[in-house]
Amino acid sequence: MTQNILVVAEQAEGTFRKVTFEALSAGLRLAGQMGGEVQAVVMGNDIEAAASELGRYGAEKIWLADDGALSDFTTEAYTDALAQVVTHSQPAVVLMGATTQGKDLAARLSARLNAALGSDVMGLHVDNGQVLATRPMYGGKILADVALVGSPVIVSLRPNTQVITEKQGTGALEKVTVTVSGTGVQVVDKQFESGKVELTEAASVVTGGWGMGGSDYSVVEALAETLGAAVGASRSAVDEGWRSAADQVGQTGKTVSPNLYVACGVSGAIQHLAGMSSSKVIVAINKDPEAPIIAKADYAIVGDLFEVVPALTEEIRKIKG
């Protein structure tokens, strides 16, 4: 066993997700504390060209598991490949982004290797050789400091929680042959909304709540477009069928940590606050000065969102030129 950190790189349509660079950067800090190095693993098909980019973020070695059976992500096939890379490279910590696929892969790998899993981790450090993680529970109402016991341990990192640092590593590519048996899951179709900003990765989020009064989100969408933000919705808006469940922010939806969170007509029920209170700056626009969201907001405007939001959009458009 080494003291190395193995970062599982995740690609989306040919480019690495930002959380991959966040994980490499977190890995670098951890490797410094453990006296090991950061390595990366890229799984997929025809991935060699893109992989060397990971060296710019400190990867000393980049393992390539290149196999036709890995061209689409399926949890079983990727678990097969990753477990073999882990056995081969003997890391102390396996790090990946807490994305849809990262969380599932981490879970299956934990059972395969009988290894500790810290899920959706926001902070990570080593104390006396012990990996300690801080992670949210109860949708973010509680933070837990947990010790991850054994070796290797597995960590999925919440997107937008780690500072990215560029540091040139050797970035030596090394192919590793893997046997992928899987359990026969086949991807038959993928549908992506083009240009849609993903909620959990977005630097800014604009959310519409009960105060929207209906499925017309055009004022919220216009502000989001001006900010380059993702559009979110409160649970009540999703329950009403105004927005899809994939847009829901809160304890039974997605947890987000953007730089800027703008809540429009969102009262701030406890389950909603749990999902967004780790945002860096919160703006609330609500006609009720007593709404709980106001007390959590760094900046609040009390007023009709259908007047305030378009005016704010126009103002920001002017600033941005």
Binding site: A107, L117, D145, T183
Partner: protein
Amino acid sequence: MEILVLLKQVPSTEALIEVADDGVSIKTEGLRFVINPYDELAVEEALRIREAQGGTVTIVSVGPAKAAEAIRTGLAMGADKGILVNPGDLNCDGLAVAKILAAAIKPLSYDLIIAGHRAVDDDNFQTATAVAELLGIANVSMVIKQELLDGKIRCQCTVEGGTKTVDAPLPALIAAQRGLNKPRFTSMSGIMKAKKKPLETKSLADVGIDIDGLQPLVQVKALRLPEERSGGRIIEGDSVQAKVSELARLLREEAKVI
């Protein structure tokens, strides 16, 4: 079709959660407990499949004696029977729970297992998928639509920025995401019937699992509340225009986020 539903009892999402005096658990006094909302979707989906093509829906849960309430609610929705494995004093992490569930499931016959994609208390995103791995069957997570085909299940799942559709051979485990269905309410007659439905409580020994393999790999050292946000700054102004101008200025110059 033999369907198993994995179910956990959790505090209601409306509940205010407080840290107990021991610093590593939460105060449970006065908390309202419910079926994990994602598991409720799983129960509903299982019932719809049974209604369409017959079969049995069995709820399997790991938890304290109190968790029987949540299973009864599932039975009142329409499930046929329940199994509760009570681990006693053992403090389980997500993987340990998966091991217990897998041990309880192994002797059962099943075509499909439905679970919630996560429990809203521990938020591990781990147990359902780990159960599939331990049973050596396929898993599909974040399912918002399913269709049973010959020997396989076709699932539409949410992924970042869209959806994907996958086919998994049966038996498989699918994990429910919001959007899959709208769970039914329990009726009075459902609640009455549920009282007579079989609910079996088992110990770890009953499911043939050794406590040594269940020691937690994730050990909680401390629970704490997130830092209180010092918010509440209301931007005043004579007009909407004045307020938004001031807000935009603050966002640019003070918060530096635009």
